[in-house]
Structures are given as C-alpha cells and as structure tokens.
C-alpha cells in the first residue's frame, strides 16, 4: 500500500438550546466539511464483492483511566455496532466472537493476524480521550488484508452541550459518515422519531369522565434518549417533522376541538397555530410538502372531512377534494406534485392519489380497508399503508414501479400508522404485538423488527430527515 492519506475532520457538536420543558440536544449534527474526501479505499467483501463486507467493531480504547472516558469508549463502540447493523450494508461480526482479542496500546498497533482468523474484511477501531471541555474521539477503518486505513476521522465536542447520553451522538455521527463515505448511503443514525404517548399517566377531568392526557415525545431512531416536547392537558397527537427537521406539526384538542399547531423542539419560536381553528373549523392530520413550504391536512370546515393545502403560516388555504364521504390522511409524493389520501367514497376506506392541483384522481388500493398512506422518499416510489387483515391491520407497501403490493409485517397483534425513514429503507409503525401499542421499526424488506418504546401507550410515529 502506498501513501496512506488520512485526514482529520473536526465535527463540532453544536450547543443545544434549552427551551422550556425541553432542554434538548441540537438538531442533527452538521456533517463535517466534506471538501477533503479522504476515502482512500472502499472496503469490500474479500471473498465475493457482491456480498456485504464483514466488519468488526472492537471496544474503543480509552486513552485516560477515568470512569467517564472508559464508559464513553464502551458506549460508542456498542452504539456504532448497532448503527451499522441497522442499515445492513455490512455483515457485522458478532462482538462475542472477538472479546478475547486483546486491545492494542494504540490505534496503530492493531494485531491484524488475529482479525484475519475471524475472516474480517475491515476493523472499525477508535479511541476516546478526555479534553478540557468533553471528549475527543478518533476512528480508523482498517483493511484487514492490507493494514491500510480506509478512513480516519477525529471528532470532538463538549459533552455537556448535548443532553442525556451525548456519547451516543458521536457513534451516530461516525456511523452516518462511514455509510456516506464507504457506501454512498444517507444513514439514519442521527434521525429522530416523534410520536405521541400517554406514558406519564396524567389525567384530566373531562366533562363525562376522567381521561388520559397524551403528549408529543421524540427519541433517537433507535429509541434511546426519549424526551417529552409538549405539555398539554389534552390530546396532542400525529406529530410530523418538517423536512428541515426543525419543526413538528401536530394536532391537538387543547382548545376543545381538533386544530393544528407547529412546535419548535429546538427553540426559535413559541408554539404556532396556523389554522386558527374554531368549533366549526376543525383541522387534523397535517403533512408537510417535501420543500417544507406547505402543509396538507384534513378538515371538516366545509361540512365533512376533505383534504386541504395551506402555506405553513396558514395562508392560502386551498381545498383539494370535494366528496360527501370521507377524504382524510394526506401524504405528499417525493416531488410534491401529488398527494395520496384515504377516502371511503367507494364504500370502504381505500388509498387514492390526486395531483396537488386537485386533478387526476386515481384509486390505488382495492382491499377491504386501507388507511394512513405514507409516500416514501425519493428515489423510491412506494406508498406504505395499513390494511385490515384478520382481526387487525398489517402494514403493506405499494410499489408504483411494478404496481405490486407486498406485506411488510405479519398479523401478530394490530399494526398501523406507518412512517418511512428519511432514506426510505425502514418503516416505523405502531403495533400491539407486545401488549399495549408501541412504536416499532422494520427494514423495508420485512426483516429487523425493533421495538423502540416500552412505557405507556405510544402512537403516531414520524421520522425526521
């Protein structure tokens, strides 16, 4: 191997804004300046290049002996392994198989022979050092066959600037960069899932009976670092992230009827109420256009549930559908030129598409009962939806390219409310398969089911970009 080009990119983990209830971590960490693409090689499977490369992620070296650094070294490697496993771009060698391999004294002294015995194609090694303000993390992606570094990076930031388990953000950042540099993939490790939950057990004395309160929460894509972001003595449901990941639109009954609100979980503005509803002008189920400039929603303002589109400030409301039966639950196509929605105009709820100007209505599904269409991000062109099957519902996916439908989930319990990950490779959904309704994620091929909430009842997941 000739000259090994390495380059360190400092990723500064910006300070989070503490606002009200929610002192939160910052929006997804800004990617490193990518002017120096230092990828000197791409790791491939040495046996069959068409198969995923086999990678090991040994525990990171703690360069100081304090407990905090030791813990960070362990956590980062654990989370990084999970993050890489999630996208299935690599065959992740189980960590139990290499616990006996001793840690090297430094990243430059990795015993390659031992890793060759494990058939690893590459090693992702790293070290953690304490700094005056936090920690500094160095990583190297090393080819086991040649010993060359395919990637080398350094990350630093103030641990205190990120609330709750900041070291996970280092791991997520590293995973996203490895996926981007090595596989050309936009990883999801720094994304968030918003959802509604009644986990705090708060109740409000309703007019007829005491009723549970539900609020909006958000968590890392893997379910870690869950935090509450609204305080309502009512129902706050159906959160949806704006495409820039800075705003959550949601519906709430906080005035006694359904209306739409915009929440800024990282600060910037108090909660806004663009629809300014009344008892006669109720709105629900918001959906952001791909460019973030407009919001589609359901409203009964003209007498029954119809689809409307407005600017994000509530101006320029336009009615898109006009039918005496229900039109509800809009979702935008990746280009923003079409909207899919649910209508029961055929007698049962089915999925339809319509151009964003209200022309070209098309029926997509012809099943017993379908709802919650969720259009995938580009370059995929699919709609995930919930469909009645047996006693409950399952998640299905309709692919426009082949006009075919596949089932994504089995029919254990009830599954509904699908939401695509920003790279389209995963779907979050609600399922009662483990008892109360909880948020799960699943790979778009139907594998890799993960439960990400466990407390209370959790519904209406939506994945940030």
């Amino acid at each position: 191997m000739t000259s090994l080009r390495t380059c360190s990119t400092i990723v500064t983990l910006a300070c989070g804004l503490a606002l009200g209830l929610s002192a939160q971590q910052p929006p997804p960490v800004a990617p490193p300046q990518s002017q120096q693409s230092d990828v000197s090689m791409v790791i491939r499977n040495s046996g069959d290049p068409s198969l995923p490369p086999k990678i090991a992620v040994p525990q990171f070296l703690a360069l100081t002996n304090d407990a905090e650094t030791q813990a960070a070294a362990k956590t980062i490697a654990d989370v990084l392994w999970d993050d890489l496993e999630f996208e299935k771009e690599y065959y992740m060698i189980p960590r139990d198989t290499y616990r006996s391999i001793p840690q090297p004294a430094s990243l430059g002294q990795v015993p390659l022979d031992r890793w060759k015995e494990l058939n690893a194609d590459a090693l992702l090694v790293g070290s953690v050092a304490k700094t005056p303000t936090g920690i500094s993390v160095s990583i190297r992606l090393i080819s086991v066959s040649s010993g060359a570094s395919a990637m080398a990076r350094e990350y630093s930031g103030s641990a205190a600037s990120i609330q709750a388990n900041p070291v996970r953000v280092y791991a997520h950042t590293i995973a996203d960069e490895v996926h981007k540099e090595q596989r050309g993939l936009n990883g999801n490790a720094r994304t968030k899932i918003a959802f509604s939950s009644d986990r705090d057990g708060e109740r409000i004395r309703g007019p007829l009976s005491d009723r549970g309160v539900s609020n909006i929460y958000m968590a890392d894509y893997d379910g870690a670092r869950q935090q509450r972001v609204t305080i309502s003595r009512s129902l706050d449901i159906t959160p949806v992230w704006s495409p820039d990941g800075k705003t959550i639109a949601f519906a709430s009954w906080r005035t006694g009827y359904q209306d739409l609100y915009l929440l800024f979980p990282y600060g910037g503005s108090p909660i806004q109420n663009p629809t300014k509803g009344t008892a006669e002008k109720q709105s629900w189920l918001p959906a952001w256009s791909p460019d973030g400039s407009r919001i589609a929603f359901t409203s009964s303002r003209d007498g029954n549930a119809e689809i409307y589109v407005m600017n994000r400030d509530g101006s320029n409301i336009q009615r898109l559908t006009n039918h005496p039966l229900i039109d509800s639950t809009p979702t935008w196509s990746p280009t923003g030129t079409q909207i899919a929605f649910t209508s029961d105009r055929s007698g049962t709820p089915q999925i339809y598409t319509i151009n964003a100007d209200g022309t070209q209505l098309q029926q997509i599904t012809r099943e017993s009962y379908c709802d919650r269409p969720t259009w995938s991000p580009a370059p995929l062109n699919e709609i995930a939806y919930s469909a009645r099957a047996g006693g409950g519902n399952i998640i299905k996916v309709f692919d426009f390219a082949t006009r075919s439908t596949r089932a994504l989930t089995d029919n254990v319990g009830n599954s509904e409310s699908p939401a695509f990950s920003p790279n389209g490779r995963h779907v979050a959904f609600v399922s009662s398969r483990a008892g109360k309704e909880q948020i799960f994620t699943i790979h778009r091929d139907g594998s890799g089911l993960r439960q990400i909430t466990r407390t209370g009842t959790n519904r209406y997941p939506h994945w940030s970009r």
């Binding site: 009954w253 008892a279 629900w284 029961d344 519904r459 209406y460």
Partner: protein, 191 residues
C-alpha cells in the same frame, strides 16, 4: 261526612291532579315528584278523630330555578348526564332505530332547555385505524347532529368533535367492548 272532611278530600284530589299534570313535562331522568299521601287509603281508614281546624298549605309551584337538572352546574349535569349515548355498527355512522330513540329523548331535553348548547362527541372502536377513525368519529357526530336538526333543534346549539379511538368507553378487546365504544356522546357545553 263532615264539612271539614269534604273540604280535605277536595284539596287532596286537587293536589293529586296537579301532581299528575306536573309530572308530564319532566325529562326522563328527573326525580318523580313523591306521590301525595294516598287518598284511597285515607278513605278506607276509620273516621279520624276531629282534627284542629286548619287549611292544608299548597305547595308552592316549582320554580324553573329549582329544576333538579337546571339547578345543577354543568359539571354535575355531565357527570350524571340526562343525555343518552348513541351507538353505531362497525364502520358505520348510520342512525338506526335504536339510535333514533335515544336521539328523540335527547331532543326532548334540548327542547325543554332551549338555552343549552351541547357538544356531540364521536368515538370509534379500536379495530379501525387511528387516522380513519378521527374522520369516522366526526361523521358519527355529524350524523347525530343532522338527526337532531331534523327534529327541530337549531344546529348552532350542536357542536361536534371527534376523538377517534382515543377514548374508549370500555377498554376491553371484544365485541361487547367495541359495541360500547362505537358511539356518540353528548356533553353540555353551556346553558
């Protein structure tokens, strides 16, 4: 029969008639006025010893303010609601015969208390999907409202709101629970 005795019976009969007449417009859940001391059993009794001369004091007419329903505050009324819930079939918002009977009774209450404004809550069972159920609950509330309007209740006294499947009446997971959860409930909002 003495003159006094005649007089007494006449008053008793008048009171009974008045009581029966008063009973009619009572809403279904109003406490029935207690029956007067029975005239019939009095008649079978041996003649009473002479009683001191006195005139039975007529019960003052019941003022509206002391109506057992309208005297209560809104919270109390809703906790023990005079309104009957209306139930629906699976995936349906049709007001069937049974639902009509409940709505007819609710309409009578609204006619008796013309200042009352109510909110009709539409609910759904857990088998439908959460999103569609928001619209289905709304359509159920609207169906109930349309029927009440057809009975002469002004639409501006009838607000609607849907809670989808967020607030099941019965947390069970069987047909008995689902049947109770597919409903419209009526909440007194102002009076």
């Amino acid at each position: 029969m003495t003159k006094y005795r005649q007089h007494f019976l006449f008053v008793m009969a008048a009171m009974l008639a008045l009581t029966v007449a008063c009973k009619k417009p009572q809403p279904p859940i109003a406490k029935p006025t207690p029956p007067p001391p029975s005239a019939a059993s009095d008649a079978n009794r041996p003649p009473a010893p002479p009683t001191p001369v006195s005139e039975p004091r007529p019960v003052p007419p019941e003022p509206v303010a002391e109506d057992p329903i309208s005297a209560r505050d809104i919270g109390d009324i809703n906790k023990n609601s005079p309104f009957q819930p209306v139930f629906f079939l699976l995936d349906s918002s049709e007001v069937d015969k049974t639902a009509q009977q409940a709505l007819n009774a609710n309409a009578e209450i609204l006619k008796k208390y013309p200042s009352w404004v109510i909110t009709i809550e539409g609910h759904a069972d857990e088998r439908g999907t959460a999103e569609y159920n928001l619209a289905l609950g709304e359509r159920r509330a609207l169906s109930a409202r349309t029927y009440l309007v057809s009975l002469g209740i002004s639409s501006d006294r009838l607000r609607t709101v849907s809670y989808g499947k967020e607030f099941p009446f019965d947390p069970g997971h069987d047909e008995a629970a689902w049947a109770k959860n597919r409903r419209a409930q009526f909440v007194l909002t102002s009076k």
